[in-house]
Chain length 234, copies 3
């Protein structure tokens, strides 16, 4: 199915059939993969259309506020970008990524296959989000952060609570594979969370934490020394 809104501004290119809704912008040199949907309306709007019996792409197009995909992006096949979300210059997504409304992904960042940014998520520049990450509403990620595969972030410390609180990850932090970050924690600048850790408290800048629950095991300096030794073995 190919559906390109007349209200959209498309300077990029399409691999094959895709859907672009509302006044979405697709910048120069950007590639939209097969089966991608850009500018999907938020739930509230879809619900109103359902009540009227009119929830279909043509009606979505009328009410969508559009997404903004800047220049030189790649949005790979099967991904869904909701309205009011912005992908900065050179952003790449993997396949089957889902990014809901009011998200911002900064210039040069990547969002790995099957990852979900579940609305109201802010991601900085040059961030690497590997495969299968989950970032709930309220998550804030700084610049240069690395999130390994299948990092799970939460925004609800006592589910199901009426008080939701996002996780903040400061610049250049490294978050290990399959780790879990509990609602409200702050992951300090240059800190490292080991793979498989469950982070229940704030991590101070420059510290390395590991385990369940996560505890400090070394400093970032020690980590970088070990890394250097390790890399010299190539």
């Amino acid at each position: 199915m190919l559906y390109i809104s007349k209200k959209s501004s498309v300077k990029g290119m399409f691999e094959g059939d895709s859907v672009v809704l509302g006044p979405s912008v697709i910048g120069e040199g950007s590639l939209i993969g097969v089966g991608v949907i850009v500018g999907y309306p938020s739930y509230k709007k879809v619900k109103e259309l359902i009540v009227k019996g009119k929830a279909k792409l043509e009606s979505y197009d009328e009410i969508s506020e559009g997404s903004r995909i800047e220049s030189n992006c790649i949005v790979r096949s099967g991904s869904i970008i909701y309205e009011r979300t912005v992908l900065g210059k050179g952003v790449q997504t993997g396949h089957n990524v889902m990014i809901r409304e009011n998200c911002v992904v900064g210039d040069g960042s990547i969002v790995g296959s099957h990852s979900v940014l579940d609305g109201n998520v802010k991601v900085g520049r040059n961030v690497s989000i590997q495969t299968g990450n989950y970032l709930p509403p309220g998550t804030v990620v700084g610049d240069g952060v690395f999130l390994g595969p299948f990092v799970v972030i939460t925004n609800d410390r006592y589910p199901a609570s009426r008080r939701l609180l996002g996780v903040e990850i400061e610049d250049n932090a490294v978050i290990g594979a399959n780790s879990t970050l509990i609602s409200g924690v702050k992951i300090g600048k240059n800190s490292v969370v080991a793979a498989g850790a469950v982070v229940t408290r704030d991590v101070e800048p420059g510290k390395v934490v590991a385990g369940v629950p996560a505890r400090v095991i070394m400093s970032r300096e020690e980590y970088e020394e070990k890394k250097g030794e390790y890399e010299r073995k190539i």
Copy 2:
């Protein structure tokens, strides 16, 4: 691709192109997203058609027993609902959800994006299954249960065993993000499993467990007290 079986009964609406096979029922006020497949036949039947060189949608339509999507449901784009599965009134799925044969999802429940109900799974009413859950065959979930993102449930204690045993989660239990529930455990009524926990034994009703392996850390009453304090800080 739009393929709506002549044997189906559709009172709901379609966003765009979808596939509905066999005598599937889509209730009033229900919305079927782009690229959804409803009534997909079980493996055994597909295999028989492959042997005959006839595994294609038209043949699936002939042999599918259909799925039942009750009224006011939303099945979001890319989801696949196998035959003999029932979604109760007001059920919502996220995007790219996969629900295999013989599943029942009770009224008012939600199944988050990318979640998999892998056949023969029973989910009660008003259950919240967040993004990326895995529920294998034999899993039984009571009413009002909350499953955080990326909960992984197993049905095989000694893989690959010929004795598969499901997990049972009783009413109003809360299962934290990225936790793992081992085959055969019973998660008692009103109990809480902390995020990242690995549950290897039964959890008594009203207890809160955490860690690897999971151990009791407090009662649900204490948890609710802490939750109350936490929420008053808004």
Copy 3:
């Protein structure tokens, strides 16, 4: 969308609309599901086409080196198989699987729904990869291995490092659900990794490890005894 390359050799069958690019081979008795893409070109090539403003299926078809799907395979709906990847005889994938370039999956193996083989992954024969696994470049899996749901494997011990090192899993090992295997570890023949474990060091052949970090808890012989007892309770 149906796009079958004139350069491809297709003896199998299609459920519905799919995309087959370049000199891909689809063996006798194999089934390609709805929305599957076979022979998707690697990133480097796509990038070159983007620069030329020509990144679309027709151009991909010209430059793709194709994938090889042997006889009696099933590639379920929504899956993407990159070029230069080989699926052996009787291989089955679940839905929405992503297998990037230069992967080999041996005869009789299965790759569960939503799993990602992220390029340069070698999987032996009769391997069972359950739902939601992540295998990064450099991963090598022997014959008869069982990987439970949501196993996360890494190839970067000190992210983001310029030294990537794959995990090797030897024959007949069992890897539990939601476990994490750290870059460079070797999982010995017939060993077992418990569900939820985080494996930071090599596991000797025939040992069973559990916990965070994983430690030896018993031998495979003891595990098999327990398994036998357990199965006799059916």
